[in-house]
């Protein structure tokens, strides 16, 4: 069976889309954190750990919830997760840095520090959906569909997984763009660079 893009989610411009359909729109121009909290409530994600997460994990968790909470079949617990972005977890890095600049080591807080690694967002998705699976976080200058396709295919060819949750989860203060898609051995959209550039 060919591997195809079967589902996708976009979070951008104060809106959330599931397979191209708008499912949430923010009223007014709220800051990112208010926007994503509004989405969490209205989409009834019901996962209180959300509140303690940094902005990157919040964006990643909401995007994955849109796809996986609405998934009709049993989840593939070996579904690999491959995320990427430009800014890593720079929002929480700035918070931790400000804390230690102001108060020295005493200013460092475990609840912040733990999020100062971008792959924590992978961990949060893995925990919520109990996916004990391959997981990787890459940093690029901009969305790199060519790489994501090659890497996803390598995981499939090496039999490391049979489906994947892949995407771009960028958040840097008020500049954000979340795009997650599923790759499965099912009918769907062709997995090409052109298609991904169209969908993001």
């Amino acid at each position: 069976m060919e591997y195809n893009i079967t589902n996708y989610c976009n979070i951008k411009d104060n809106k959330i889309f599931h397979n191209g359909q708008e499912i949430y729109r923010n009223k007014g121009e709220l800051p990112f954190l208010d926007f994503i909290k509004g989405a969490y409530k209205e989409l009834e994600i019901a996962y209180p750990k959300f509140y303690k997460m940094d902005s990157l994990s919040k964006l990643s968790l909401i995007a994955s919830s849109v796809l996986l909470d609405n998934y009709k079949e049993e989840l593939d617990e070996k579904m690999a997760i491959v995320l990427s972005n430009r800014s890593g977890c720079i929002d929480i890095d700035r918070i931790h840095q400000t804390n230690i600049d102001e108060d020295g080591i005493a200013g460092a807080r475990p609840a912040n520090f733990v999020y100062t690694l971008p792959n924590i967002s992978l961990g949060e998705i893995s925990i919520k959906y109990q996916l004990r699976s391959e997981n990787s976080f890459f940093i690029f200058d901009s969305f790199n569909p060519n790489f994501l396709i090659a890497y996803s295919k390598s995981l499939i060819n090496l039999k490391k997984c049979n489906s994947l949750l892949v995407g771009w989860v960028e958040v840097n203060e008020e500049a954000y763009n979340g795009f997650l898609f599923m790759i499965e051995p099912k009918p769907g959209m062709e997995l090409t660079e052109k298609k991904l550039l169209e969908l993001i």
Partner: protein, 380 residues
């Protein structure tokens, strides 16, 4: 399976650490029983004296001045460039459009963040990459403490899928106030040099390093060096907790199993394990659980953290480079600072340099976010 019969190899490698500016200096120091961990007083890093494995910056400058690279570089960029220069001495001819470059790091030039520099990891990688004349875009893997060894898996995967014929893999992180303060807030830093697997272990010691290695599908590029095939690998998440390892070692167990299954070997064929061994209570116990579940408890295991501290994004790669260099001579490196067994299950901790025919080396790592990686190298 596409490319099913493809074999992917590595050999040699380079490093810049608290124990030396090149791999041979590092190996000699470890054989002499030396550790890079020392007591430091540096008010820029901590108000109080602390143990750390920190690179001597005068030696770093000297080593950097011996390279051909000119320009303004940060400490981390210099570390990357020195390690890369050593690798390029042997493989410069293959650094072309068929060659990729994978960077493993967690925090990059994080000590510049306070001065409002943006600190984008990809910008740093691209700068280093262009300096050495790479054509292809740099790939940055940032998967916490497993990044270094996982970058070797990523290189293997990308070569397997046909994106490249060869890959440079380089990993590095600096000793920063940012990370040191964070681990202190977790009360995870030992007041002494760390003691992996020991009864009295009480936390990590941080370090800084860079390491580099060349990975290729063409065995002949390695010349007369001792060559290792990357025969199996896996990186499975615990799906348990973002800042603590699974108590059952589930993710590490599955990662090692994935690597062993791909290699098509029995667990008992592994000759030594270069483990993660951070010397926190939870990590070391978790590794004991995972290794026992897969019946590896009698295989000699060593943690290089008592030599180098925890070097974060460099750790897995540095430890693999050093372990393979020992394996070249059929030796197993020592795990320092282990006196009394401090785990609820048995492990065969290797405390002295030991002679043994080495065919299979297992390298593992685990980290925040529930990440785990295992890679098996086979001497060919």
């Amino acid at each position: 399976m596409e490319n099913g019969n493809l074999h992917i190899y590595t050999a040699g490698g380079a490093c810049v650490t608290s124990l030396g500016m090149n791999l041979e200096e590092n190996i000699a120091n470890i054989k002499a029983g030396k550790s890079g961990i020392h007591k430091h007083e540096d008010k820029n890093l901590s108000a109080e004296a602390f143990y750390g494995a920190i690179i001597n910056k005068e030696k770093l400058e000297k080593a950097f001045n011996l390279t051909v690279y000119k320009g303004i570089f940060t400490t981390l960029e210099k570390m990357f460039l020195i390690a890369l220069k050593d690798v390029l001495n042997d493989y410069q001819a293959y650094v072309n459009e068929d060659c990729g470059i994978i960077f493993s790091m967690t925090k990059g030039n994080i000590d510049d963040l306070s001065s409002d520099s943006p600190n984008y990891l990809h910008d740093l990688a691209q700068k280093v990459s262009r300096t050495i004349g790479m054509k292809n875009e740099a790939i940055v893997l940032s998967n916490a403490c497993v990044s270094g060894i996982m970058a070797v898996s990523v290189a293997k995967r990308l070569i397997h899928t046909g994106l490249y014929k060869h890959c440079l893999v380089v990993g590095g992180d600096i000793f920063s106030r940012f990370v040191f303060s964070g681990f202190q807030s977790f009360q995870a830093v030992s007041n002494e040099p760390c003691k992996p697997y020991d009864k009295d272990r009480d936390g990590i010691t941080l370090g800084e390093a860079a390491a580099a290695i060349f990975v290729s599908k063409d065995k002949s590029v390695f010349g007369t060096k001792t060559v290792y095939e990357i025969v199996g690998e896996g990186s499975i998440n615990d799906a348990n907790h973002i800042s603590g390892p699974s108590r059952t070692g589930e993710g590490l167990f599955q990662s090692v199993k994935s690597a062993i299954d791909e290699a098509g070997i029995e667990a008992k064929e592994i000759d030594c394990i270069s483990s993660h061994g951070t010397a926190t209570m939870y990590n070391d116990e978790m590794e004991a659980q995972a290794f026992n579940r897969i019946d590896l408890q009698d295989i000699p295991v060593f943690s290089l953290k008592a030599c180098y501290g925890h070097t974060l994004g460099a750790a897995g790669l540095l430890e693999a480079v050093v372990s393979l260099r020992f394996a070249d001579e059929n030796l197993i490196p020592p795990s320092f600072n282990y006196k009394e067994h401090g785990l609820t299950l048995p492990l065969n901790i290797n405390t002295e340099v030991q002679k043994k025919d080495i065919n299979y080396v297992l390298k593992t790592a685990s980290g925040f976010g529930g990440s785990n990686t295992a890679v098996i190298f086979k001497k060919v």
